[in-house]
């Protein structure tokens, strides 16, 4: 059983999984590994680590700035993989999913990247601008390396695409809760619940929901309906503000609050 399957199996019937997103190298490369451990201690079940990219077209301002800071520190794909490998020396249980844009992977080569992920202890990869239709080479390389392929679904995905995305995915699928970019504010939980029912009727994998999780209240509401609640921008905002405060401590208390808010299931 993969680490991702394991987490979802253990939480089945208990509560939604908590998935946290930070960008590798942000706010500083040296902080990423300690930050990942702190997120796990605070209650994160799955870690998403962003691969910084010069043109993060699907991201809102908070994550754009996060990519820019990481790049300003010179963070590369190789650095991000090394951070995961370093994290793995102490934590062999928590799944790590890389999330990024496809050009750095094109530059490295799909097969080389997939093998490097497996070697570093990466469990799954989300490539935001690589829909299954364009992913033939990536799917083969990732399957061969034993890395999970996590694809996205959106409110605009028609039913036939939901099936296709489900067939291409493994580990879980990432449902983008709203039309827009990361960090947007207007989440309509009733609408998400309705869409999730449709999504679930077309695929069997766990469904994580992200884009628009702001605070404990929205995490609680999504935790009622999703298999996993994914938080990114709201967490990254805690890493950079307030000025001068310990970034890791801020992230830790925020994530602990989200985790405590996730409702139990019977």
């Amino acid at each position: 059983m993969s680490r991702l399957q394991n987490v979802f199996a253990q939480l089945q019937g208990k509560r939604a999984a908590l998935v946290t997103f930070v960008t590798g190298g942000d706010p500083e490369p040296a902080l990423t590994v300690p930050l990942l451990h702190a997120l796990v201690e605070a209650g994160a079940d799955v870690l998403e680590v962003g691969i910084p990219f010069s043109d993060p077209m699907a991201d809102g301002p908070v994550i754009q700035m996060s990519h820019q800071r990481a790049l300003a520190h010179g963070t590369t794909m190789g650095d991000v993989l090394a951070m995961v490998a370093s994290f793995r020396q102490q934590d062999t249980r928590t799944p790590v999913v890389l999330m990024g844009y496809v050009n750095p992977v094109e530059a490295m080569g799909y097969a080389v990247f997939a093998r490097a992920c497996a070697d570093a202890g990466v469990d799954g990869v989300i490539l935001v601008d690589l829909p299954p239709e364009e992913a033939t080479e990536w799917l083969a390389a990732a399957r061969r390396a034993g890395v999970d392929r996590v694809f996205l679904l959106a409110p605009t995905s028609p039913p036939e695409r939901i099936t296709r995305v489900g067939e291409a995915s493994s580990g879980f699928v990432y449902y983008v809760a709203l039309k827009g970019v990361t960090g947007a504010a207007h989440l309509d939980i009733a609408d998400v619940a309705k869409k999730l029912a449709v999504v679930r009727s077309h695929l069997r994998l766990p469904v994580g929901v992200g884009f628009g999780v702001q605070d404990a209240a929205s995490a609680r509401a999504l935790g009622e309906v999703a298999d996993a609640v994914i938080v990114g921008s709201a967490l990254i905002r805690r890493l950079v503000a307030p000025e001068g405060k310990d970034a890791i401590a801020g992230a830790r208390s925020f994530v602990a609050g989200l985790r405590a808010a996730l409702p139990p299931r019977q």
Binding site: N103, P158, V181, A184
Partner: protein, 398 residues
Amino acid sequence: MTYDLPDARGHFGPYGGQFVAETLMGPLAELISAYETAKDDPDFQAALTRDLHDYVGRPSPLYLAERLTAAAGGARIYLKREDLNHTGAHKINNTLGQGLLAKRMGKTRLIAETGAGQHGVATATVAARLGMRCAVYMGAEDMRRQAPNVRRMRLLGADVVGVTLGSQTLKDAMNEALRDWATTVDDTFYVIGSVSGPHPYPAMVRDFQAIIGREARAQILEREGRLPDAAVACVGGGSNAMGLFYAFLEDQAVDLYGVEAAGEGLATGRHAAPLTAGARPGVLHGTRSYLMYDAHGQILETHSISAGLDYPGVGPEHAWLKDSGRARYVAVGDQQALAAFRALTHLEGILPALESSHALAYAQILARELGREKVIVVSLSGRGDKDVETVAAYEEHH
């Protein structure tokens, strides 16, 4: 063999495709089906043709530039006068087509990215004409160097949104337009300004611009009684070039030349010439094509004196035409382009856009190489009124 690219999923060989976030896949599928229906609908085509004639002023003339020809000392140089279109560039051929399509799809808002501002002006113009709301994304650096076009767009009622992230040029404006579209897909149509972006844009924009080459081919046959030896156009994303080339693709005797921006020189790295400078294929803004990026896959900053060519990528069909050898790609630097700008202004009384000046510079070189018996058609893609200040500032500093 007839040329029938792209394939059903928008691929030109290994190039093109749909590399976008999931949120846009549904809307793109809708756009493909709306465009396919419109393309075969005589009413849509008739409305477009009528507007191209009465509103844009087509057909644009094919002008024999006699004094430029004499100065170059070789082949006869004909200019396809897209600068005489309403709004002053070829861009309106495309924005009119996409605007009519948007209206037909029931959309009420147009958005666009723009570099030189010509595509932004052409989109704002069509939005005004069709009674639609309009937002144009433009890099802050481009807003500075193409200020007259910013004022024009605002007068036309468009909301011009400055983009201050990244290199503050066309690439960043396109990122921001994609973000807007992902948020507003229900009522908004994204009018992409070149033969770039995800399928169906490269094919659709080419189809709307193909009127340039169709007219030019008929006009040169009438004037010279034969096809030209070469067709030359500048390449930013590549829409005026694809528009000119498309009608000649199967005329193997017509050599096709795309002219990229060599900026301060290919060796300096400060250029915008992915096809000429040995860039590799990569993925940006929804498509796979030649692309300027570093060893880690990060997109490189580009440089050109002309904002409309200042882009690290190029339309996927040009990547295909380069690999297949059907078209050749060359690059012309800032200084050569400025010299051509001055030459056309002094010799013919025509102020060309700095983008088009790149094509003119290469056409003069080619004319000399080919010699007197030959004929060249150059796409004069736009007029240079917007560039007057840039040219003055450059002359002050050099």
